[in-house]
Point group: C2
Chain length 334, copies 2
């Protein structure tokens, strides 16, 4: 593989000049530039990015830590990040944290030891304090779908409360008034805020929040089926069910169908996230679109702007979810 030295020799110039034509930031006369370019062409020269990194103290790589590679968000988020970064000639190093505190920390240390220019984290197990301390280090840290006040400039987050509001609001608009709610684990900020949105919509409609029609699930399918089972076993009266994510909505739909419900006429169901399979469910799931792909793109843009001095990028750190009306929810039949 040709080196910069061979190029300089063939072109009859110094190493520095070759480096200059590669880095385009200092002026080189057109004549010598051409000589150098020709020599590169002739030798099939490709700069050694490792040597560049060492000399310039910039690896052109961004580390990404996600919970699970096969989780529903990861792929879309990654697609967003990768396309932005790749277009800028940067690359992405990926690792996983499996939602466990020590594995997340280990993954972060791994990325830092690889000398990533920045890291984008989608973590849940690690504490806010840890993140704050981490961000004092030399590697810039960005957070996806997690808001930490002290790090607010580095957070890309979703307005979960608005999402929760929209979900319940869509059901209210359909004339429902007896609405059950299956929440996610309340120590997770997302779950908490979605519930807040639900309560807000109810309050606005003059309906008081009924603790009996409230169940805390685990964000998995079983959480949804257990939740619905609970409401049914308690012989409660309700015509709609709002779930804090799509997995639980799917679990609830399965349970409902197995117990003779005709969806959506007997029960309207709404999810949250608009994961890939929402559109494959039967009936197709009405849900709140969580624009993770767009948020990934934005995280990448933020890195490009902050770390790689790509000045004129417009940054939006706060995303608004939208309603995806499909077939699992419908107007109340009196």
């Amino acid at each position: 593989m040709a080196t910069i030295y061979q190029v300089s020799e063939l072109a009859g110039v110094s190493l520095a000049t070759v480096s200059r034509v590669m880095n385009k930031n200092t002026r080189v006369s057109d004549k010598t530039k051409k000589k150098v370019l020709d020599a590169m062409e002739q030798l099939g020269y490709k700069p050694n990015s490792i040597a560049q990194s060492l000399a310039s103290n910039c690896t052109n790589s961004v580390g990404i830590l996600v919970s699970e590679l096969h989780g529903p968000f990861f792929a879309q988020m990654m697609a967003g990040i990768e396309s932005e970064l790749r277009a800028a000639g940067k690359h992405v190093i990926i690792t996983t944290g499996h939602s466990e505190e020590d594995k997340e920390q280990e993954g972060i240390e791994f990325l830092i030891s690889r000398r990533c220019d920045a890291i984008i984290l989608h973590v849940e197990a690690v504490s806010d304090d840890y993140l704050i301390k981490l961000s004092k280090g030399s590697t810039p840290v960005y957070l996806m779908s997690r808001y930490v006040e002290q790090l607010k400039d580095n957070c890309i987050s979703l307005d979960n409360q608005l999402g929760g509001y929209l979900a319940t609001k869509s059901i209210l608009n359909h004339g429902h008034t007896q609405i059950a709610y299956i929440a996610g684990p309340q120590f997770k900020a997302d779950a908490f805020n979605r519930l807040e949105g639900h309560k807000q919509a109810l309050a606005e409609a003059g309906i008081k929040f009924d603790p009996a029609l409230f169940y805390i699930g685990d964000f998995n399918e079983t959480g949804g089926s257990k939740g619905l089972k609970h409401f049914i076993d308690e012989k409660l009266s309700f015509t709609a069910l709002v779930c804090a994510n799509d997995e639980m909505a799917s679990g609830a739909m399965k349970y409902a169908r197995e117990h003779g419900y005709n969806l959506p006429n007997d029960l309207s169901i709404v999810g949250f996230d608009n994961v890939i399979f929402a559109n494959y469910l039967y009936p197709t799931l009405t849900t709140i679109d969580n624009p993770v792909g767009k948020m990934g793109e934005m995280a990448a843009k933020l890195v490009l702007k902050d770390v790689y001095q790509n000045k004129n990028l417009v940054i939006n750190r706060f995303f608004e979810p939208t309603l995806m009306q499909r077939d699992s929810s419908a107007p109340l039949i009196k």
Copy 2:
């Protein structure tokens, strides 16, 4: 950030010795080893992996090229590759080819210019010749789900014919004899081999392949719905439908349901791949499991063995798919 030089100073030894205790391959006396380790500890020393790469001509990184990050296989494949490689201290650099020839080539060049120690490709647009030429270069090339005779030692592939056979066989076992088939684009080896398996199963059962009950789809949902529409419009008689992938099976299921079919009683449907949403469909989709996760792991192991001299790994280049019997196919009701 501490350098090896500072460690050597604090420990009162030479650079070389510090390097030796890091690389564990040459003997260092226990006494000096301890001094060095203590010094590292005290300084919080982390080796600079970039400098290591430059000096050792080994980047400890493996490039991965996939068609789409949000495609159904990618996540599982990646999860397999990443977990294996990460455990060995290597990392993964990811990029996409979007199934377009020039983008795939560009992605490959990008990975090579990053000096990956090996690249794992999941490509479809690029030609066999290109791959053969590529593998003559200095970066070892591995192929996922693609078999090229000349590169057979570097291919991890699935027995698609067996899969096609199993799919149709399961339907035959249910007593069906009028079986429609929606194939994938026949220039794709996977699609071709799956069809071969289908024919083999028919032949074995003494049923002759009927070109009227055969349709070539596009591997997307629309291919499935169009295929089924075609069969119905032609007023053909069939009680089962085998599709060459799950997307088409899903499309066919939607079309069937919209046209009053009661699944699986009016029509048994089988897919192929067992993508993540197969289990979320209604009824849940009977399909052929494509063990992409395992194949990803194996690709990583192969790299570990070939490139990183990890001798005692057992390699299996050929994977066998298995039947996932679910609710979308059932015994024929006479």
